[in-house]
Each structure stands twice: as C-alpha cells, then as structure tokens.
C-alpha cells in the first residue's frame, strides 16, 4: 500500500485545499493521471499521481485543507494482495514525498511548520474561512489555546476590504495569499542564493527573418511568436550546459531529467506563476506554440497541473512586452538559474564593418554561485545567443 | 386388562393403547435420528455455533409434552431440539434454524440454542442457565391475572438449581401460587461438573420442598413414567393448586456439546447408562408385551428417516436473510440507534 500525499508544489506551499476528487475508491489509476484538484495560494491545480494501482481509500475530504506531505489517499500497488496495509514510518514518509521542495531539516527557520505547529483553528472557523476564501493562517486566535475561532474569522473578514459581494471577496484574498507566497519564495531566494548575473546584447535580425519566413504563408492562428524561439534557444543551451538545469537541495545540486523550462506568466490582476513547459527541447515549433498557448490559458484559469509547478529546472522570464530592456532576475528556489529577456530595441549595429540599424535583444542570466561559477554561466549564455543568432540551428532539418 | 388404578405406573407394560405406544416410540426416534443427523451436519460444517445434543434424554420431551395443551406455554434451555420437535415445531424449520437460514423457526437468527415458535407457545431456547425460570413465573402470572387456565412448563437442567434465579423463581411462584410446572432434567452433570461436585444437597426435590412446592422424582429413562407423572402434575397445576416441581432422572449419552472430550466421566459409566436407553428398552418391552408389532420399529425408522431427510433438504434449500435485514426486529419500529 502506498500513500498518496499532498504534493509540495513549490517551496512556498504549506498546504492545499482539496477541491475535488477525480477518482473514487476502487478505481484504477495510471501513472500520471490527474486524480484531484487542489486549491493553493496559486490557484486550483490538477494533481497527478505517480504510481499506478487502485484507489484503496480516499483519506482527505473535499473541502479539507491538507498540509503538504499529509496523506490524501491510499493506493494499492498493482501486484499487492488486498487487505494488507504496510505502515510507513516517519522516515519513509519523508522520503516518499512527491518532489520535496522544502528546505533541509537542519535549517534554523523552517518554512513548513512541523506537524505539532499546525495552525490551531476550530473546524467551524476553518469551514467559514474556506467559504470566505480567507486564509486563516494570518488570523490571530482568541480561542482555547490561542486557536482561531469563528469570531476571529468574522473579525478578520470585516477588517479586510469591504467586499461588494461574497464572490469577489475570495479573489481579493486569493491574490493576497499569492502575494504572500511570492514574497516568501523570493525572500528565501535572496536570503539563501548567492546570485551572480551575466548579460549579453545580441542582434536578432536573422531570427526575425527566419520567423517572418516561417509565418509568411500561415494564417494568423498558426503563426509563431518570438518567445518560442527564445525558449528553444534556452532549451538547446541547457542541453549543452546541463549544470544550470536542476535544483539545489540538501546542500547539493540535483540535475533535472529532461528539459522543462519554467515560463514566467504574469496573471491578470496581479501575481505570477512559472509553470513548466514539459520537454521544451523536444517540441517542434508548432507543438511548442500550441503548448505555450495552452499553458498560458490554463495558468490564467487556475487549472495548472501539479507537475507543471514542480518540474521546471530553470525559469525564463520575458518582460519585453512591457518595454523593459534588461532583466536582472531573482532565481525561483530551488532552481539554480533564471534567464531574462528584455524587449526588442533598434540599435546601431556593426555588421561586416558597417554600422546598420538592427533590432537587438538583451539576454541575461542570474545563476546560483553555490552551483556554478561565472565560466559556466558564460558558456551557457554564449550557447543561447549563438542559437538565437543562427536560427537555422534551432530546428535543424 | 388392568384398570387405571391398578396398572403399573411405568414401562411399556403400563400402556394399553397401541396408538400411544407407537406415538411415544415415534417421538423418541425422531428426536434421536434428527440429532444424529445434526451431529453429522455439524462435523460437515453445515451447522455451527454450539450444538448440545439431547440423545439419551428423549423420553422426557417425548413423554412430557403430550401432557400439555396447545394453550400452555413451554420454556426450555439450549438443549431443546427434542422439546421443539415434541411440541410440534416442524423438523424442517428447526433444521433450517440450525443452518442459519431465514426459513428457520427463529429466522436463522438464533441457531441451535434459540429455537422459538410463538404460535405454538414454544418460548424455547434460553442459553443462560436458569434464565428462563423468571420468565415462566411471568407467563403464569399473566395467565393468572387474566383469568386463563393455561399452565407454563419450564424445562431446565440440574445445573440451573445452583443459580439464584432458580431459588427466586420457585419462591415467587410458590408465594403467589402460580400455575408453573418446574421440570428439572437431572442428567447428573452441569456441563462437566457432577451433581455431587456442585450441590451440597443432591436431592433436588428437597430443594423445591423448601419453598413448599409439591415435588416428585421420576425415572427419566422411562417414557411411560415420565408421561404419567407429568400428566398428573399438569392436572394438579391447572386445577389451581399452585406450582409443582418434577425431577426427571436421566443421562445424556453424548458429550455436553460437540467440542467436549468428556474428561469428567468414565466411559464405563456412559456404557452402563446406555443399557437403559429409553428407546431400546421401550421398543423391546412394547413388542414383548404385544403392544407393538415386530415390524413397527422398522416402519417408524423409515418414516423418521424420511422426515429427517426432508428436513435437511428443506434447510439446504433455505435462503440467507439479506444483510440489509441485519438490524430488523431490534425494535418494533426501525430505530436509528
């Protein structure tokens, strides 16, 4: 018997609210199947399961807020006899956690409270907070043992922005929660990660020419956009320099398997998510365009999958749309590097000994000095710019 | 032909009615053969739980039960297959009960120890030793208060006389002069403890006498003696002369229950008693005295074998009560606990 646990979908995730089970006891589940929808500070996420078998029992109930690592369901393995339950000890519980993004246990200030430090909140208050979309973690408790009570939730709800209707109140609170989550992750990054920054300005006229040629005969709906080329170039550069593709955990670098680039997506109304574009390096131009569009759509509908929040080995942020020339990014822990792109700007450019007007782009790398040194960063950036300047190398035929 | 007054009170020779002789033998035989089948079915796993056999004691149920009227009440113990059969509960319903089938006389809920048939006033199987005696007093009290002339017959074993409920009940019945017949089947062992090892006074009739109950002891291996004595007692109780106590001295040939290695008694003792088998002695004497034809035994055996086979077939064909009915009949209305 294995235990399907609340996955950690980010270093900043402490718990999730189980919104919906998509499976029922007795059903077969396949590896990779979406089995539940979990509401996090970052929105509702389709959570996948990583073991095939049959659903023995659903432990968590819909509507229940479950700390990361706690059991959601029991899964009987494919060749397990029925009726037998193997109790997992504390150690194996830790080890079997889906990608564990929480810091190592020796750290002085744990991000995830231990079980004994769970929020003390009455069941009724928990239910009411969920109805209001209010995160009770920030509410101070006045009940027995300092627990958060119904009254505390009511006071907290009143103290917040007077909401015109119950429907908009959760949105406000969800955004506040997301802000808190981003704050926690970014603060951790700046606190823990010794960043170093490298930058390079390159001429993108060849890449744009390639793009125009590619799009020339196509209807609007099938045309590529420039970020597809950027992502492709980053993916190829990572293949060449795998030292930047992965995570820093427990004092060591852990390389990612495959290239899954995190794509930073600004949400309407504020906030940010960086879901992974799975197997970025294996996607054809059209496939990548489709995948990117799908990812954007789902990110804005709060329907990301759990693996998309944990798989990325490096994140790419593009603030070019907003007219920013260059980005000095903050790495999303436990990743070890972040690539930033600015906007296309026309600059005087020397080509073949002549000054010409050319559209240029600033590409930057922020990297974790614990894992890599400047030389590796430089090699990566070189690979990246080379690929963008020689677009025929992006998808060699 | 001797008159009733001069006729011997016991043995087949005391009878002058071939029909009655045949009926007594038939009743004893069907109890014996039915129970032998039960033992076989128990070993085959068809019957489970405890199974207490009456084999050796058949003369009591067979002899006593005809003395009771339909309107009378019968309460018995967990060794009550014979009483149920003799009271007229169909063999198939009893066997189905032992199978746990819903066609059983208690819907399969009671098994061997809890046979009931309210329509026949058979408030049968109590598996708490002595536990039925107070109920018998209550049945009789209700009849008395309602002005009915029914008699309540309560069978129990020698083990029950050690229970407080025996003494409380005899006292109360005598105090209120209620129409109860206390019928003690003394088979000499309370489970595995011999009477001498659990009673300071082994004369059980003397105990009843202490409560001023008229009492009598009778040879429980002699079906005619049982019948005669019980008839007289029923008449007396029905006539409003208060409760009465009868001791039937008997012996069980088989173990207390199926799972009993019988460490507490000698095989020789059992063999000695088997020589007094109520069926064999009565059949032999009845044939010898010309009351029954030599062929009667075989005819009855065939008849009984057919009935037992039919009972088994009925039980086999029975059905299991649906699990959804599990909590039915806990209360009159379906009550959420």
């Amino acid at each position: 018997m294995s235990e399907f646990r609340m996955p950690s979908l980010g270093a900043d995730m402490e718990s999730g609210t189980l919104v919906e089970w998509l499976i029922r006891p007795g059903e077969r589940v396949e590896r990779g199947q979406v089995v539940a929808v979990v509401e996090t500070q970052k929105g509702a996420i389709d959570v996948e399961i990583w073991e095939a078998g049959s659903v023995e029992r659903l432990v968590a109930e819909e509507g229940q807020k479950v700390p990361v690592g706690e059991v959601l369901a029991l899964i009987r393995g494919e060749d397990e006899a029925t009726g037998r339950q193997v109790p997992a000890d504390r150690h194996t519980l830790e080890a079997s956690r889906a990608p564990d993004l929480s810091p190592p246990p020796a750290r002085a200030i744990p991000e995830t409270p231990a079980a004994g430090e769970r929020l003390r909140i009455s069941p009724a208050a928990r239910k009411r907070a969920a109805e209001l979309g209010l995160d009770p973690a920030g509410v101070s408790g006045s009940g027995v043992g300092g627990s958060v009570t119904l009254d505390d939730i009511a006071r907290a709800a009143e103290a917040g922005e007077p909401a015109p209707s119950a429907r908009t109140a959760p949105t406000t609170d969800a955004h506040a929660a997301m802000r808190q989550a981003i704050a926690a992750a970014m603060a951790r990054s700046k606190r823990e990660i010794p960043h170093y920054y490298l930058g390079h300005t390159l001429c993108v006229e060849p890449a744009l020419a390639w793009l125009e040629a590619h799009n020339a005969e196509r209807p609007v709906a099938e045309r590529l956009i420039f970020p597809v080329l950027q992502l492709r170039a980053v993916a190829l550069a990572l293949e060449a320099v795998p030292e930047l593709n992965g995570w820093y955990r427990d004092g060591a670098f852990q390389p990612a398997e495959g290239v899954h680039l995190g794509v930073a997506i600004a949400l309407r109304g504020g906030g940010l998510v960086a879901p992974a574009l799975h197997d970025t390096d294996r996607l054809s131009p059209d496939a990548m365009m489709t995948a990117l569009r799908d990812l954007l759509t789902r990110a804005r509908k709060d329907r990301l999958r759990s693996s998309e929040l944990t798989a990325a080995g490096l994140t790419v942020t593009n603030l070019g749309d907003l007219g920013v020339e260059s980005v000095q990014g903050v790495i999303y822990p436990p990743q070890v590097a972040l690539v930033g792109f600015g906007c296309l700007v026309e600059r005087p450019w020397v080509r073949d000994g002549q000054v010409v007007a050319a559209r240029c782009l600033h590409a930057s790398l922020a990297a974790d000095h614990r894992v890599s040194d400047g030389a590796i960063g430089a090699r990566f950036l070189r690979q990246l710019t080379d690929h963008l300047q020689e677009p025929e190398r992006l998808w060699p035929t | 032909m001797p008159s009733p007054d001069t006729r011997p009170a016991s043995g087949a020779a005391a009878l002058d009615d071939p029909g009655q002789a045949r009926a007594l033998l038939w009743q004893m035989l069907r109890i014996r053969r039915f129970e032998e089948k039960c033992a076989e079915l128990y070993s085959a796993g068809k019957i489970r739980g405890f199974l207490h056999l009456y084999i050796g004691e058949e003369a009591i149920a067979a002899g006593a039960m005809p003395a009771l009227a339909e309107r009378d009440h019968v309460l018995a113990t967990y060794r009550e297959h014979g009483h149920a059969l003799a009271r007229g509960v169909p063999a198939g319903a009893i066997m189905a009960e032992m199978y746990g089938k819903q066609e059983g006389c208690s819907r399969g809920r009671g098994g061997s120890m809890h046979l009931f048939d309210a329509g026949r006033h058979f408030i049968g199987g109590s598996a708490i030793v002595g536990g039925a005696l107070p109920l018998a007093v209550g049945y009789a009290l209700a009849d008395r208060l309602a002005g009915r002339d029914s008699v309540t017959a309560c069978f129990f074993g020698d083990g029950a006389v050690a229970e407080g409920e025996f003494h409380e009940s005899l006292n109360l019945a005598a105090l209120w002069q209620l129409p109860v017949l206390f019928l003690c089947e003394n088979n000499r062992y309370a489970m595995g403890t011999a009477l001498e090892r659990h009673q300071s006074q082994v004369d059980l009739a003397a105990k009843a006498a202490a409560y001023r109950l008229p009492s009598e002891s009778v040879d429980g291996m002699d079906v005619v003696a049982v019948a005669r004595t019980t008839e007289a007692a029923v008449d007396r109780v029905r006539a409003g002369q208060g409760p009465m106590f009868l001791e039937y001295r008997t012996y069980r040939f088989r173990a207390h229950s199926m799972f009993d290695p019988e460490l507490y008694r000698d095989k020789a003792e059992v063999e000695q008693w088997k020589k007094r088998c109520p069926i064999e002695t009565f059949a032999r004497d009845a044939v010898a005295s010309g009351l029954l034809a030599a062929t009667a035994r075989d005819e009855l055996e065939r008849e009984v074998a057919e009935e037992v086979a039919a009972a088994v077939a009925f039980a086999e064909a029975g059905t299991w009560e649906p699990v959804e009915h599990l909590c039915h009949d806990v209360y009159a209305r379906e009550v959420r606990p």
Binding site: A124, G143 | E168, L175, D329
Partner: protein
C-alpha cells in the same frame, strides 16, 4: 386547562394512577410498592385504589420479579416493574440484557416485550457507594432497550404513559433528587412522546446538553452564565437511547460550542457517545473542543463535602463554560 403545582413524586404517582386506570393490562410490581407505599412514596395510595393483584409487593428478588415482568409482558400484559435503585438493577441485569433486550431479534421478530422498568438513579443524598450511581448510560449501550430520563413534571407523568404504549422494553430513570422538586403540570396526564430531545432554554453561544437530574443544575448554570453575558442553550435529551442526533446536531450547528453535563462517569460513557457523534456528524460546526462535566471517577462517598465534590455542581458547569468561552479561569484546561 387547569395548571397544578406539584412535586415530581406526585407527577410520577399521577402517571402511574392514570396508567393503571386506563388499561387493565397494566400492573405495578416491585419491592415495597404496596403496603409500604413505595420506598420513595411514589406509589402511596395505589394499593388502596387498585388492589393487591395489580399493586404487587415482591420479595427482594430483582432477577425473578424483573424476569416475571418480562414473561408477563410476553404473555400479553403491560407490567411496570419498579426497581428500588439503579444499583439494585444489576441483580436483574441478566433478565434485562439477555431476555428483554434480545428476545425480539433472537426469535426472528416473533416475540416482543412491552415492559416498563422504572428505577431511581443518581446521587446527592449521602447514600454512599451502593445507592448513588448513574448507570443509565450503561443501559443505553444495549440495542433493544429504550432508555428515558424524565426531568420535568410533565415528562414524569407522560413518559410513563408513552412507555406503556411502546411495544418494546423501556427503562425509565427517575433522579432521586427530583422527587421533592415542585413544578407545574397542565390538565390530566397524557403521553409525552419518547423520540425527541427538547430545548429547555434557547441560546446562541454554547449548547449545554444534559438530561434527568442534571437538567435543573444546568438550567441554573445557564442563568448564572446569562448574568455573565454568555447566552447558553440547554438541550434536555429526555431519551438516552435512541439519542436524538438531529436535535443535538442542530443545537451544535447553531452555537458551535458544546458542553455535555452527565452525572455518569466519563470513561466509556454516554457523554463520550454524545461527543463522538458530534465529532462524526458536526465536526465542521465546532468552534472549540467539546467539553464534559461528569462525575468524578470514584465510588460515591458518604460525607456531604466529598459527595458534592464527586458530583457535577452548578459552579462546575459554569466554570467549564467559561473555560470553553475563554472567559474567567480559562487558563486552566481539564
């Protein structure tokens, strides 16, 4: 309708009188119910009114006369068996458990036991460790029995009448300390149904769930709490088996806090059962851990001060509610 103010004892007597008068099948049986007039004078005068056949003094044979009550009920009558006090009922436990409670089911529905057993329960009279306990929670454990605890005068009269109409065995627990308490009743005795708990005091902040002798202490505690600004609801269970889950959960859903006040001991008890059901059925309505006020886990001692300390008192209930509400003395946890 005329309103009378009578003692609880008189209300019980009115109930018995009405039951005997309206149904010839009814009779009363027990120790000293007749010539003595009842140990607690509940049946005083009934012998003269109904005669020895129907008001039956028994020997001190709890098992025999309780079993006889079962037999008489099986055989068509409607006996009322009085057991002097709950501790003595243990002598009849075999009959109650192995016969009254089981016969309907065990016989496949052929038999039923329309018997009423009344007994005195509870402490507070310095009668020490064999006359003072509250074992109704034990009996409420047993499927096949209905367990009721009339706390008001109307219930004292009317639940007996309803119990006699029930086709199954009903055990009525009458708290000894209520016997002299005066209260009002209206008109003639009439059956008071046995299915529902009743809110004796409406409130919004905490549910005090109780029954029997503790109802009056709990109502007094609620008065004190009101003076302290706490609006307590008091739910009188009335029937302990089957419990009125709906009424319990409705009250908890309204107040979100619960204190169970039970004169029984707490380990493996009725109060434990009630709180477990609340956890099972209304967990997400709770705004604080449920609390119990129960008798201390000792045999009830004789001296007044120790008995008082053993049994829940008004101040214990008040203090428990304050702790729960975070008020005075809330630093202490039990």
């Amino acid at each position: 309708m005329t309103t009378q103010t009578i003692a609880y004892r008189e209300a019980l007597r009115q109930g018995l009188h009405a039951a005997l008068a309206r149904d010839e099948r009814v009779f009363l049986m027990g120790e000293d119910v007749g010539r003595y007039g009842g140990t607690y004078a509940v049946s005083h005068g009934l012998l003269e009114a109904f005669g020895e056949a129907r008001i039956r003094d028994t020997p001190l044979s709890e098992s025999a006369f309780t079993g006889a009550g079962i037999g008489a009920a099986l055989n068509g009558l409607r006996p009322i068996v009085e057991i002097m006090t709950v501790n003595f009922s243990l002598l009849a436990l075999d009959q109650i458990m192995n016969n009254a409670a089981t016969l309907r089911h065990m016989s496949g529905g052929q038999l039923n036991v329309p018997l009423v057993i009344r007994m005195t329960t509870g402490g507070g009279r310095q009668l020490a460790a064999q006359h003072s306990h509250s074992l109704e929670g034990w009996y409420a454990h047993i499927p096949g029995l209905r367990i009721v605890a009339p706390a008001t005068h109307e219930d004292a009269r009317g639940m007996l009448l309803a119990a006699l109409e029930d086709p199954d065995p009903v055990l009525i627990f009458e708290h000894a300390l209520l016997l002299n308490v005066e209260g009002t009743v209206k008109g003639e005795p009439h059956p008071m149904e046995l299915d529902h708990a009743v809110i004796r005091r409406e409130g919004g902040q905490v549910s005090l769930i109780t029954y029997g002798g503790m109802l009056h202490k709990t109502l007094a505690a609620a008065d004190q709490l009101a003076a302290a600004g706490i609006d307590a609801e008091v739910l009188d269970l009335r029937t302990l088996r089957p419990l009125d889950d709906a009424a319990i959960m409705a009250s908890v859903a309204k107040t979100h806090r619960v204190v169970v006040v039970d004169e029984g001991w707490r380990s493996g008890s009725l109060s434990a059962e009630i709180i477990t059901r609340i956890n099972e059925q209304a967990f997400f309505e709770l705004d604080a851990p449920p609390v119990r006020v129960c008798t201390q886990e000792v045999p009830i001692p004789y001296p007044r001060h120790l008995e008082d300390a053993a049994i829940p008192q008004i101040e214990d209930i008040v203090a428990a509610v304050h702790r729960l509400m975070g008020g005075p003395g809330s630093g202490a946890t039990s």
